[in-house]
């Protein structure tokens, strides 16, 4: 049979509704087949062709109605397709009988006319053969359309997810290498070079290491916590060169955690926040402690950045940086990864990422 309109019914996931199943293509096909059958049977019958055709058309519509109703009416324990084919088979003799009723009157009468019995048998026979066959064909097409719409839906979901991942990545790219950080750092390097300081070499090395890790095109396909720690160390070395009297730091990452997968720039985002919102606004500065360990109780990894800076005011903007980072962690580690912020005493903030790396290790 003709294919259903997949956008109208199948995509909405409600192909069983009455209106949707009783589509124009189906009606047209049922009527055309009725015309063909009437034409084929015409030589056998004494009945004039218009009457025969009329009967056939009525039978075709009744069978289509039966097919549609059986589809909408859910019978427990009976598959829908079987219910529909059975309905068509059962309704075929009944419908034929029904169209003969007006011409012959009461129940007992028809059996006496040999011609009638013959006609009835012919029509019922052809309805019985063609009806269920067409029903099966319609079902096949319908299932095909549903499968296609499911595939379409799946494709849509997948592309939406891909787009979200891409968006997150684009946001990340835009966030990288703040020009003011770069220019301030270069101004310091310039000062070291001009004064002939032996510190110039090591500082340039840190800057190169930082830039290499922070340049999106140069990022590794297998980001690890070890790579991220090297980036963070380079960044903190540069910051300490710039504000030696205001920044202390310590990086305390267990060596065996260096190989676990870790989203690039995630730790750096937390460090940048600690510098920007904790250390930078403070005249006396403070310290930053980066640590990572595996909780022996549940095997989850805790990565934290604690600063002793000015802390977060009640109405300080929470910003999109942390929200983006949360999204990235979810995307990278899956549902159970989270990022929490804690207030430090006497002042400062500790940001902690907790995740299971089992899935990350496998993928």
């Amino acid at each position: 049979m003709n294919s259903m309109n997949p956008t109208a019914s199948a995509l909405t996931g409600e192909p069983r509704s009455l209106g949707a199943a009783f589509t124009l293509p189906r009606v047209v096909i049922a009527l055309s087949i009725a015309v063909l059958v009437a034409a084929a049977l015409n030589p056998v019958f004494v009945t004039p062709f218009p009457i025969l055709l009329g009967r056939m058309l009525v039978i075709a519509m009744l069978l289509l109605l039966a097919f549609t109703l059986a589809g909408a009416w859910k019978v427990p324990g009976l598959p829908r397709w079987l219910a529909q084919v059975l309905a068509v088979a059962l309704v075929a003799p009944l419908a034929t009988f029904l169209v003969y009723l007006p011409s012959i009157g009461f129940l007992a009468e028809p059996m006496r006319h040999e011609g009638f019995v013959l006609g009835y048998t012919f029509i019922t026979g052809s309805a019985l053969v063609l009806g269920p066959l067409l029903a099966l064909g319609a079902l096949y097409r319908e299932r095909d359309a549903q499968a296609r719409s499911a595939a379409l839906r799946f494709e849509l979901e997948r592309s939406t997810l891909e787009k979200q991942a891409l968006d997150a990545r684009l946001k990340l790219l835009h966030a990288q290498v703040e020009p003011h950080f770069l220019f301030n750092t270069l101004a310091n390097v310039q000062a070291l070079v001009e004064s002939g300081s032996p510190q110039a070499g090591p500082v340039l090395r840190s800057l190169i290491e930082y830039l290499r890790a922070a340049m999106p095109r140069l990022q590794s396909d297998h980001p690890t916590l070890g790579v991220e720690a090297a980036l963070v160390r380079a960044y903190l070395e540069l910051m300490q060169m710039r504000m030696p009297d205001r920044l202390d730091y310590r990086i305390d990452i267990a060596p065996h955690l260096a190989e676990i997968r870790f989203p690039p720039m995630a730790l750096l985002t937390l460090i940048e926040n600690a510098v920007r919102h904790g250390i930078d606004p403070s005249e006396v500065g403070g310290s930053i402690v980066v640590s990572a360990h595996r909780d022996p109780a549940d095997g989850r990894v805790h990565v934290s950045v604690a600063d002793s800076g000015v802390g977060i005011g009640d109405s300080a903007q929470s910003g999109t940086g942390l929200a983006n980072l949360r999204d990235r962690l979810q995307a990278f580690f899956g549902g159970d990864a989270h990022l929490d912020l804690h207030e430090e005493t006497p002042h400062g903030v500790r940001a902690e990422i907790v995740f299971s790396d089992a899935k990350a290790g496998a993928g």
């Binding site: 301030n184 101004a187 000062a191 504000m243």
Partner: protein, 262 residues
Amino acid sequence: MSAAASALIADDEPLLRERLRAHLARLWPELQVVGEARNGREAVELFDQHLPQVVFLDVQMPGMNGVEAARSIGRRAAVVFVTAHEQYAVQAFTQGALDYLVKPFDAERLADTVRRLQERLARPQAAERGALDTVLDGLASELKRRAGLDGTATRHLRWIKASVGSSTRLIPVEQIAFMRSDEKYTLVVWEGGEALIRKTIRELADELDPESFAQIHRSVIVNLRQVSQVDRGLNETAEVKLKNRKDVLPVSRSFVHIFRQM
């Protein structure tokens, strides 16, 4: 005139203070650098102490920033801003009141500045106070806005501090689903769990951003962005259902109007 010139350098990055001092010593040997400040507050203190004719001010310094320090110094000295943020410097310069240096700057650019300063010190000062104040006011609010310290949008409560176990959690308000009063305390329910805080529902209703949060009952505040459904009940009341949560919150009669236009 230039023989008696004195200057103050303010920058939170010591290497940059040293570099500027070294170049000034070469380009303007008569200039006496009377002090180095690490932030705006120190700059103002040292200025009041020494009253130098020239002040080099880094714009972004901890505590009091360079622009605030410049406002405090006012017309009493020739101020040169030093910044990596070119747009601030250009804003100030287009008004003709000050000179500026964009980091990293080279020695030739500093030589220009020195020439300009020497000319300025050689002639009597023109009255430009009004224009300068306007520029500095604009710059100061721009800096504050960038630091997230000012502006109407930031005045609402954005973080809830709640004791959880031995630590104090900082909860961004966007993550909160709802808050319900619990005798003396308020129960905060957010994506990461639940916690009791000391603020009352009334205080919270005043402090939270009304765009996102609404009191819907004497004892309940809900995050409107987390509401999935509102069901009308009897007697002009209603119930609120939340996204991804089973909690059902009551809406009392006096608050039902909140959801009318939704």
